[in-house]
């Protein structure tokens, strides 16, 4: 390929945050007239790379070139002057101003020093027509749908930059028709010779739109390929990493005694969040949830725990129907939930380890039965020891602990409430190897003690290791339920990648 004519290129760029290498010598080349998808799971370094390309971050190593010339991009505004425009997932425009003003703000046509509104509206109308939008340019931007706002944002970016367009998850909040409309716009811009970077979690959209794809994992470049050379399975395998050991199978004996049913979700779902799913959970069972980021894994957990209450279906606990309208209902029924974003949703950073451990139990007991300090210390000490939490003192603020120890604190918090059912969302993300093993050991121990767990993880090997059943999510829908011998990385990857029929079980057989 004659890839010397890159419109924009990143050569060996690195970015380091503290001790963490967010990007490690990544090469990325963008051709004129192509749509280039950038893929990777959370923490893969996608957004860091994008921020370097748009000038929001400066690389710690390597260089960025535009049309073959090395450039130093100070800010998104500075990048704009090199012809690089960005459209973000959250529309970054002004909903309180007119469509025309959003298109031209800072560049409004003027006459005698005053803004020439007539001309601005006329120009806007002409410009919008090219994008197939027949809307009144003087109408307020906020009165239009997100899709229209997104197209206005693209029109502004192209208008002002015109060489490179970076679309950072532009479809995340659009429905199917709106996505289609956006794709038409992107396709026509591609024909005009624009170089387009496209970031999304939806593989269907990648295959529908992109010419080439670059895959990142853990800050490293995995591959850049023409999409026509790749199958979906290849792609998912590359995203999820390594070359998955395709021999691995569940470590559990296939025939486990069937235990009592604990929970039954029937047609349980929530609009715009997760499609209705039916799932039976037995005592002493670990259900692994696999799927790519954005596939509805976390949404499923949130609906189960009542953070986003379901609007469809029913749930029964020990055969009796219950209603979970809020997290407090779930807790009252003996549920526990360790969220994905530990720092934002899990720990109380400034509170002590002790307070962090007792808080869920105290919440369950209510106001009038305050645990006194001795009881708190007792509990915290007991769980701190059994979970092997390494803290200098139980009274130190939990934010000073390492990620792995914080995760153990949150686990201890729920274990203190003696839950019957525990949901863990990415319990091993971003923690060191030792703590990782500790958490996996704890999961196994809890299962053997008869607790029911749902564990969401991107680490397929890990899911395989501890799950008695695996549920696969795709496009906000539960698409497969694997058991026994089917619990192997190969089948799971297949299920994640498969588009529509045939069912993953059949293809794997």
């Amino acid at each position: 390929m004659a890839e010397t004519a890159f419109r924009m290129e990143a050569r060996g760029v690195s970015k380091i945050f503290g001790t963490h290498r967010a990007l490690d010598k990544v090469d990325f080349g963008l051709l004129a007239g192509e749509v280039h998808a950038l893929l990777g799971e959370n923490g893969a370094g996608k957004s860091t790379l994008i921020k370097i390309l748009t000038g929001a971050y400066q690389p710690d190593g390597g260089e960025v070139l535009v049309d073959g010339e090395p450039v130093h991009l100070d800010s998104p505004l500075h990048a704009q002057s090199f012809g690089i425009g960005t459209v973000y997932q959250e529309v970054n425009l002004l909903p309180n101003r007119s469509v025309a003003e959003n298109l031209f703000l800072g560049h409004q046509p003027t006459r005698f020093g005053l803004v020439d509104r007539k001309r601005m509206n006329r120009d806007a109308r002409v410009l919008l027509k090219r994008y197939g939008l027949e809307i009144d340019p003087s109408s307020e931007l906020g009165s239009h749908s997100v899709a229209v706002q997104q197209i206005v944002a693209i029109a502004r970016a192209v208008q002002l930059s015109g060489k490179v367009l970076i679309l950072d998850e532009p479809t995340a909040s659009l429905d199917r028709d709106e996505v289609q409309r956006l794709f038409e716009v992107v396709a026509s811009l591609k024909r005009d010779g624009l170089a387009i970077v496209f970031i999304t979690h939806f593989l269907d959209q990648v295959f529908a739109l992109a010419d080439r794809v670059t895959i990142l994992r853990n800050g490293k470049l995995v591959d850049t390929r023409r999409l026509s050379e790749l199958t979906r399975t290849d792609l998912v395998r590359k995203m999820l990493g390594k070359d998955i050991a395709f021999s691995g199978s569940t470590s559990l004996e296939a025939q486990r005694p069937v235990t009592d049913v604990l929970l039954e979700f029937k047609g349980y779902g929530r609009k715009r969040s997760v499609r209705p799913f039916t799932l039976t959970i037995h005592k002493g069972e670990v259900i692994g949830v696999a799927g790519l980021l954005g596939s509805g894994r976390t949404e499923m957990a949130r609906v189960m725990f009542g953070i986003d209450p379901s609007d469809e279906g029913s749930v029964a606990l020990n055969g009796k129907p219950i209603s979970i309208r809020a997290a407090t209902d779930a807790i009252a029924h003996g549920f526990g939930f360790c969220p994905e974003d530990r720092k934002a949703d899990g720990i109380f950073g400034d509170l002590s380890v002790r307070e962090n451990i007792v808080i869920a139990l105290q919440g369950k007991l209510g106001w009038f039965r305050a645990l006194n300090r001795d009881e708190q210390l007792d509990l915290a000490g007991q769980f701190g020891e059994s979970m092997d939490i390494r803290a200098a003192s139980l009274d130190m603020p939990v934010k000073l602990l390492s990620g792995g120890n914080q995760q153990k604190v949150i686990l201890a918090r729920w274990l203190a409430t003696d839950p019957a059912f525990l949901i863990l969302d990415e319990p091993t993300r971003g923690i060191d190897v030792g703590a990782h093993a500790e958490i996996v050991r704890t999961i196994n121990r809890l299962r053997d003690d008869g607790m029911a767990l749902v564990v969401i993880s991107s680490e397929i090997d890990e899911v395989v290791a501890y799950s008695s059943r695996v549920v696969v999510m795709r496009d906000r829908e539960m698409v497969a339920e694997l058991r026994g011998e089917d619990i192997s990385p190969a089948v799971i990857v297949q299920a994640i990648a498969t588009h529509g029929e045939p069912t993953p079980e059949e293809t794997a057989a």
Binding site: N92, L94, P95, Q108, V146
Partner: protein, 325 residues
């Protein structure tokens, strides 16, 4: 633009209805004499409120304007009476001081990321304290320039007088409306009130615009101080206490959203006139305590805030996008 028009139209309608009702009771209210005095008596409030409109549209607040009026009055009076400067020179000095003062507040708000409420509260104490340090007493201004200007007026048909300060206020409103709605600076002010992050990503010079907004507000407050000194022929450090709140009231009643992003300079004009009408009515009535003005203003303010919430809540419901993972 349409939905932000609604509170403005409501203000205009309320003003017309209130004025008609007042005229029905006191036909004397419908004379150019009363209307002329309306403009003269409220000139300093109107000029201050124009600056406040910009500040509030940008999503900020300026609590220092009343104190700046007091400070300007004292400064101008002392410069003329004690230092013997010509009033025009004194005005220029006062405006320069106010410009620096506003710029300093704008810089603090932007670079120190301190809420405008706190910065301008500090500014209020500074200006009021500064005025009292210059003098504790009322300083009379006896200069022929003052008497000339104060007696300048156009005779209106029907015996009313359109005074110089009344005209000045109208000029400031026209200037404000043009700047707000027809210049890039004006669009930047609305942009800041809409979403500061978006504005900066779209290339709005946020720092410069913030500084300019508070400079504009302080300089207009200074101009209002000059007008106030013309009106009273004196400078007094405790003059115009609480005017910042009247100005905020007039701006909000005029249909500007207190959270920023929406509003009209013309609306503020109607707001000031509505406040003036309430005051005039109570004077005409004669039996009501002047504190009733405050009660009516309070009720009006409350009404408008509720109205704005309803208008904006109703139209925002449709276009809220779903949350995403």
């Amino acid at each position: 633009m349409n939905r932000s028009m609604r509170p403005l139209l409501a203000t205009v309608a309320i003003f017309l209805v209130a004025y008609a009702a007042a005229v029905f009771q006191f036909p004397g209210l419908l004379s150019t004499r009363v209307l002329g005095n309306f403009l003269t008596d409220n000139a300093f409030l109107g000029i201050t409120a124009v600056g406040m409109t910009f500040v509030i549209i940008s999503g900020g607040i300026d609590l220092s304007v009343g104190a700046v009026i007091g400070f300007t009055g004292v400064l101008v009076a002392v410069l003329i009476s004690s230092f013997g400067l010509h009033p025009l020179v004194a005005f220029a000095i006062a405006l320069a001081v106010a410009a620096l003062f506003g710029a300093a507040m704008g810089l603090a708000i932007h670079y120190l990321e301190v809420p405008a409420f706190i910065v301008t509260l500090a500014g209020m104490f500074l200006a009021r304290g500064g005025a009292s340090v210059i003098t504790q007493d009322s300083v009379p201004i006896n200069h022929e320039f003052y008497s000339t200007i104060s007696s300048l007026y156009f005779r209106l048909p029907g015996g009313g007088r359109l005074s110089f300060v009344g005209l000045l206020m109208i000029a400031v409103f026209v200037f404000g409306a043009v700047v707000a709605h027809r210049t890039r600076f004006g669009s930047y002010v609305y942009a800041l009130g809409g979403n500061t992050t978006s504005a900066s990503l779209m290339g709005v010079p946020v720092a410069r615009t913030t500084v300019q907004i508070y400079m504009l507000s302080s300089m207009l407050a200074c101009l209002a101080g000059i007008v106030f000194s013309l009106y009273t022929s004196a400078g007094y450090p405790l003059a115009a206490v609480g005017v910042e709140l009247d100005a905020i009231g007039a701006v909000v009643i005029g249909g500007t959203l207190l959270t920023g992003g929406y509003g009209f300079v013309f609306g503020t004009f109607v707001g000031v006139m509505l406040l003036g009408l309430v005051q005039t009515y109570i004077i005409f009535d004669g039996t009501l305590s002047s504190w009733w003005t405050k009660i009516v203003i309070g009720i009006l303010l409350f009404l408008f805030i509720v109205l704005q919430r309803l208008v904006f809540a109703a139209s925002a419901r449709g276009d809220r996008s779903s949350e995403t993972a």
